[in-house]
Symmetry: none
Subunit: 183 residues, 4 copies
Amino acid sequence: MEEFIARGFAATRLDDIAKRAGVAKGTIYLHFKDKESMFEELIRTAIVPLVMRIGSTPPPAGASVRDMVENFARTFIQEVATTRRGDIVRLIVAEGPRFPAVADFYFREVVSRGLAGMRAMIELGIARGEIRNRNLAKFPQILVAPALIAVIWQSLFSKHAPLDAIDMFKVHLDLIFGERRTT
Amino acid sequence: MEEFIARGFAATRLDDIAKRAGVAKGTIYLHFKDKESMFEELIRTAIVPLVMRIGSTPPPAGASVRDMVENFARTFIQEVATTRRGDIVRLIVAEGPRFPAVADFYFREVVSRGLAGMRAMIELGIARGEIRNRNLAKFPQILVAPALIAVIWQSLFSKHAPLDAIDMFKVHLDLIFGERRTT
Amino acid sequence: MEEFIARGFAATRLDDIAKRAGVAKGTIYLHFKDKESMFEELIRTAIVPLVMRIGSTPPPAGASVRDMVENFARTFIQEVATTRRGDIVRLIVAEGPRFPAVADFYFREVVSRGLAGMRAMIELGIARGEIRNRNLAKFPQILVAPALIAVIWQSLFSKHAPLDAIDMFKVHLDLIFGERRTT
Amino acid sequence: MEEFIARGFAATRLDDIAKRAGVAKGTIYLHFKDKESMFEELIRTAIVPLVMRIGSTPPPAGASVRDMVENFARTFIQEVATTRRGDIVRLIVAEGPRFPAVADFYFREVVSRGLAGMRAMIELGIARGEIRNRNLAKFPQILVAPALIAVIWQSLFSKHAPLDAIDMFKVHLDLIFGERRTT
DNA sequence: TATGAATGAGCGTTCATTCAT
DNA sequence: TATGAATGAACGCTCATTCAT
């Protein structure tokens, strides 16, 4: 996976994967049909812990919706956006169009579920009066957009200009939930 | 450029580029040092009209900041996000890490300028009282995040679930500028 | 053996042989030094029953030489030429030049013995007055030539044009022994 | 072609072909789609001069059918059976079953035409009273069988026991046309 | 004796790059 | 300036062979 992340699908050599895995080249073919299916399977298995790592954070009891979303985003940013795992997301963006199976899987397992979860939260926030804008439930993408931006920024521009993703997300939450008096 | 967009750097063959360009393969080397520098130059020259297309929209006289931003976003979404040009952005996200020159150029010419422009608008909005959240000026990324999301969504998931990017952006603007009474 | 017949030496995989034999791949190496010697041994052991099947037909008591030869040829054609066994002969023709040990063995065990037998018959036929051409004893190959042709035809051209090998052989015998009045 | 003859299809390496042809390996792919089609095309183009070499011998004026056939066979044996060209025939026998296109072509261009020519000669021989056995026309294969045997013998057994193919063929002709008084 | 996972040399094929024309 | 045939390094993949169990 590290090799695919570092070089992309086409530029990654089976030789390097084998070397890094500490096995002979032929051994790879005992586990995978070919390079393509290896890539797809690796992505698939890499996504599961990615989702787990996010989903496993239990919402604190008696928490406001804002706290829940903030918790969620903080976990994502700390555990994904600012680590090598974030590059998996970038890898999917990069190779998705040429690997429909990857894009399909990602949409099904991560995107649609994640958005459904976000939508539920938004609706809860609306019901509780924490969120005023009722249309937000139609576009839960807005809620997560800055987190995704953070992932991309990290890979491409962090050395040009560091970005405090958590701070950014808090400002974003202020837009949605209203500004807090204390910051 | 079309070929690079469709297949990525590594999977694109000079043969196909030459065919599409209507020249012989050898002719390419009269204009470019090698495949890498051709890619970098093409990206560079492709970005300019991309920026032009956005920047050229003159702000309507006497417009509110919201109108200006909305105009801007509408142009971007119509002219970039929902067309093949949007894939250039995705291409940069995909190949950027392996082509620092590309990422550098993109940051310098597009991202930093774009964000500076956004920041100026945000500050104008704050000054005029249109925008309440003063912290937004620290993170102009938030302003454009949904537009970028739209680009990525278009490439990867539009066939799974179409996304009305303009509607989404309007909701996003409502978060920033406050909800309009009439929609 | 079936695998070697179907695909030739080089294109046959030990994997398939092991599967067909119902053993693990490694087990093969307990019985054979390597693929080459396995091929040679298999050919050797396959030839024995091939010869047996032909040689075992007892000449009918009081038979004419022509009857003996015809019997012999009929057995060969029915038991070898028109069955999978015939392909062993073709396999030897195909791989012989690259496996001198195979060609040597085949020459020693089958060809020279078979020709010696044919020569004896021809001489008997000449002695009994059944065969007029005394020179035939110098080239017993002529006697069996149509049978070999039948084997090759079967493998290569039977689907283009079927060949009644037994009828052909009878005509051939007519040339040697003189035409019979009744057909 | 020499390489295929010497080693068979599967065991022949493109490297060796390129080396022998004095070109780089990649150059091969400017002329042939892949190894298989190269093999098929080479066989095809090798057969043409093979046929030409035989068919070009003009029948001597006022020749008997026996003379014509003998001439024909002598040319075949001298120009094909006892030279490297004969191995092309053996190669077809060897690889034909795995290359239906080759077997088909060979049947169409060589076998069926050759047999038709032989049949015509036989019928002429019958008409002229040179050949008594009218059934021979049904199996022109018999006429050429010893010539084919000679080809195979040459490849496999000539070092064990040399075979005078021309002498053998004369005896064979004696069987068909009747023995000549003088030899 | 039997296994089958692991090996790695070797093959067919591709494609960026060169250069004689 | 333009060509495109030729190159050959490099890659994905196969498969005969080995060896720890």
